[in-house]
């Protein structure tokens, strides 16, 4: 992980200076982030840079992970599905697994969590830790990364009992906020432009990556990068591709890794492989969770990037593709709507037919793709790089510390400028 100084070129000197000025009043503050996996998925990818950069700014930041057995991850996956509106049941046996695992983790993590000035609990998996740390002294914030706009009521009802005691919660967009008594903040996620997944790479490396997977590069390449998860609709992408290739040649890449907290990935992967069987132009790639440069190369090799999600917290793969100057065809869902603007940075679609139509439109009008790609990259530079994200975390912490009125002085000794 690079230090903050390395971001001055790409994000701007002013953006980096602002972070240092804001962090002046948070020096030495103990901050702990807790989630359920160190590798795989958007949350881990954010924490990989967020924690070291907070440390670089003088905060005493650390990252802890809750651990459990397979039945725990099955339960939390059911939570995840239920919160995103997929019908699930949560029998008492599953609840007991969830709560018992939380108790075991609390035994291990309690000393560090109770001492922290700020604890950020990411997603539902570690949510019960709050009530298991009765001597906590800091502010606890529940950070919800998923689309909870239409949850299964019983699932949300249970989780609400675990998160309502927090001092605040954070969502990626206002549509996801729920009826809770505490302050609810909106912070969109972001990408690290210098990470292995997003940094510039030589064109030779891109070519070698395609060769390695036997993907021809003499026809347009359409790519979806995401976990094998039914909410990402990989089957819908295959259907769209089949409609497209009735009239023109192309290659389709469906690339993704598994996350250690996602036990359903294998079943979805099997379903995708079955749907792709017999079509040599569809490349289903199961990548290791650290294959960041490979994903970088595949995104850069693509003519169009697709993220046809049916539900989506934010869609960091959309941001990554836009940063690489690619137009994106995205599902009209969740945070994708914050990034993809019809005719400007790509297209929002609601069906495989819509995706096929927009793929064909873009491929038939390549000059528009270049303009869209440049617009997309600039939009990410202005709004979705990690400097903005980190600034909002610092602002939130100062706001919570100072009492959350509408205007607060970071250092209370300041006066108005005159």
């Amino acid at each position: 992980m690079k230090g903050l100084k390395a971001y001055e070129d790409v994000a701007g000197l002013v953006a980096v200076s602002q972070l240092r000025q804001l962090a002046d009043d948070l020096e030495g503050t103990k901050v702990v982030h807790v989630n359920s996996t160190r590798v795989g998925g958007g949350v881990a990818e954010i924490l990989v840079w967020l924690v070291p950069l907070m440390q670089d700014l003088g905060l005493d930041a650390s990252w802890e992970v809750v651990e459990g057995k397979e039945d725990y991850y099955k339960t939390t996956k059911a939570f995840h599905n239920g919160l995103q509106g997929k019908p699930v049941t949560l029998p008492p046996s599953k609840i007991e697994v969830y709560e018992e695992t939380a108790r075991q983790n609390a035994e291990r993590l309690r000393p560090i969590l109770e001492e922290a000035d700020f604890v950020f609990i990411h997603d539902p998996q570690p949510a019960p830790l709050l009530e298991l740390c009765p001597k906590r002294k800091g502010k606890w914030v529940w950070r919800c990364h998923i689309d909870v706009s239409h949850p299964v009521r019983k699932v949300w009802g249970y989780l609400k009992s675990k998160v309502s005691g927090y001092d605040a919660s954070i969502y990626s967009m206002p549509d996801f906020a729920q009826s809770l008594e505490h302050p609810q903040f909106i912070i969109a996620p972001s990408i690290d432009p210098l990470s292995e997944k997003n940094c510039d790479i030589p064109s030779r490396e891109i070519e070698e990556t395609l060769e390695r997977y036997g993907i021809p590069n003499d026809v347009p390449i359409i790519t979806q990068v995401s976990r094998f998860d039914s909410f990402k609709d990989p089957i819908g992408v295959i259907e769209a591709f089949q409609m497209l290739t009735e009239t023109m040649e192309a290659e389709l890449i469906l690339a993704g890794g598994g996350a250690t907290d996602d036990p359903e990935g294998a079943a979805v992967l099997e379903e995708v492989q079955e749907a792709a069987q017999g079509n040599p132009h569809i490349h289903v790639l199961l990548l290791p969770s650290d294959a960041h440069r490979t994903i970088n190369a595949l995104q850069r090799a693509s003519t169009i990037v697709v993220q046809k999600s049916l539900q989506e917290g934010f869609g960091l793969t959309v941001t990554e593709a836009m940063w690489k100057g690619k137009p994106v065809i995205g599902g009209n869902a969740g945070g994708i709507r914050l990034q993809v603007f019809n005719h400007h940075t790509g297209f929002l679609v609601n069906s495989p037919e819509g995706a096929a139509l927009r793929m064909r439109e873009l491929l038939r009008r390549p000059e528009r793709m270049d303009v869209m790609g440049e617009t997309a990259r600039q939009f990410v530079r202005e709004n979705f790089l990690l400097t903005r994200h980190l600034r909002e975390y610092l602002t939130l912490m100062l706001g919570l510390r100072l009492g959350l009125s509408d205007r607060l002085m970071a250092d209370q000794s300041y006066e108005n400028p005159q």
């Binding site: 002013v14 953006a15 200076s17 602002q18 000025q21 804001l22 002046d24 009043d25 706009s149 206002p174 549509d175 906020a177 302050p183 609810q184 903040f185 909106i186 912070i187 969109a188 603007f341 400007h344 940075t345 939009f379 202005e382 709004n383 600034r391 909002e392 610092l394 602002t395 939130l396 100062l398 706001g399 100072l402 959350l404 009125s405 509408d406 205007r407 607060l408 002085m409 970071a410 250092d411 300041y414 006066e415 108005n416 400028p417 005159q418």
Partner: protein, 228 residues
């Protein structure tokens, strides 16, 4: 004329960071609910939807500058209402309650005109938000008007917002921080003050506003001498 150093206190350049939170009232699905929520929402919520739109990430150049007008146009599909709300200049009201009164008056009038209450589909509700602003020191101080002219190009957009826009709700006469400070200098830079007063920022993005300030300041202070 170049402003000399005086005994007046220097101008401390500050900056701000804003984080958005939910606005404290339920979302509105129709025109009547919008009216009811605006009547009771916190002052900060109204301020956010009228004035903090400037600091929010946006993609396109919005047709209207406040969120209520945008919602009326894009989601309620009531162009008449959108235009009536869109013309409101929030900076001319002496306080938020006067602004609220004006908005409610427009909504009541529209409610009396329409044959049915316009609704929006699920997912297009108006969600009330508010901002929390953290003000922090940049450690830059300015002694003279010329210092300000020279420093403006280096100021962040959020510092420009704080001193030129947000200042209007915290200064007694509703003016910006630059003007308040410059007007108090021993030798007032009259041309610079006039140039700043002529900037109508309501239709500008923050980067356009910064450009306008820099150009106005440089024109008034060519070569370090104020042009009259």
């Amino acid at each position: 004329m170049v402003s000399e150093k005086t005994d007046r206190p220097p101008f401390k350049v500050q900056d701000c960071a804003i984080i958005t939170r939910m606005g404290g009232v339920s979302s509105a699905v129709n025109l009547r609910e919008l009216r009811e929520r605006i009547a009771v929402c916190p002052a900060e919520t109204l301020y956010h939807h009228f004035c903090e739109t400037l600091v929010r990430p946006t993609f396109d150049d919005p047709e209207f500058r406040n969120d209520f007008a945008v919602w009326a146009s894009r989601h309620l599909r009531d162009r008449v209402l959108a235009e009536r709300l869109g013309i409101i200049n929030p900076y001319i009201f002496k306080n938020i309650d006067s602004l609220r009164e004006k908005v409610l008056d427009i909504l009541d009038e529209r409610l009396s005109e329409v044959p049915y209450i316009p609704w929006v589909p699920k997912g297009e509700e108006f969600r009330f938000m508010r901002g929390v602003t953290i003000v922090f020191d940049t450690h830059a101080t300015l002694e003279t008007a010329e210092d300000l002219v020279n420093h403006l190009p280096d100021m962040s957009l959020s510092a420009i917002y704080y001193h030129f826009v947000e200042a209007r709700r915290r200064t007694p006469d509703g003016t910006d921080d630059f003007t308040t400070w410059l007007a108090d200098l021993e030798e007032k830079p009259e041309e610079l003050l006039r140039a700043f007063a002529h900037i109508d920022f309501y239709f500008l993005s923050l980067s356009e506003l910064k450009d306008a300030l820099v150009k106005a300041a440089q024109a008034a202070f060519q070569g370090g001498v104020e042009v009259r």
